[in-house]
Amino acid sequence: MSISLFYFVAFLTIFFALLVIFSKNPVHSVLYLIVTFFTFTLHYIMLNAQFLAIVNFIVYMGAIMVLFLFVLMLLNLNEGSIGSKSNLLKMVGVIAGMCLIITLVGSLRALDTSDPLVLQTQDLGLVKNLGKVLFSKFLLPFEISSILLLSAMIGAVLLAKKDIKQV
């Protein structure tokens, strides 16, 4: 194991992220997005954030991606049923993205060169450690997020169900 593993996974992340936005078929986009999320999970494991790696694996690659695929199948969107933007607009979009990268990288270069990332405590991202923080310091936000999920569930059901027939 060496540092080059990080660069290899980072390359995969960028490569599949590019495939997500440039593939014509939306189903392929979803599949590439799953691979992208898997590379993010690898990053989390390398950072020793094991709890978040598992949560990322279950929530993103399990729940969210199944939701995306399910909606795509439900809507039956084939390749080419939605046209693409004109080439001029695409160029403008890509140039705008490049400008964003240049601006952020420029501000990053204003910083000093950073120290290498060193894992100071091995159990930083383990369930035991995070659970203690989550249920002591962040107990109120945790409970509020449960209300958020409940309201999201009700909202999704209300939005997606067919209108009641007007009498």
Binding site: I3, Y44, L67, T113, A152, L159, K162
Partner: protein, 109 residues
Amino acid sequence: MENLTQAIQGVPLNHYILLSIIVFAIGVVGVLIRRNAIVIFMSVELMLNAVNLLLIAFSVHHNDPSGQVFVFFIMALAAAEVAIGLAIIVMIYRNINSTDVNILNKLKW
């Protein structure tokens, strides 16, 4: 697992920031150049993930578990957001029979 976590010993923090910037910018470009509402939504997910990675890298850098708790909340938020957003897309599809965002231009002047 011990071997795997040795791999990051020595990756500069700047490279994590750089990776997050690039993935975030890819998400922005995806929102700008695509017309399918679902693909736009996926680009938003990419941006959220880029920020998550940055938060975890900083959490490890500062040896502070709060950053990882924030990522946990962002994931809960993303799940809620996806459920609502896809419900809205299904509703739009039922009304205009397409998910092309260019058809939804009534607010455009």
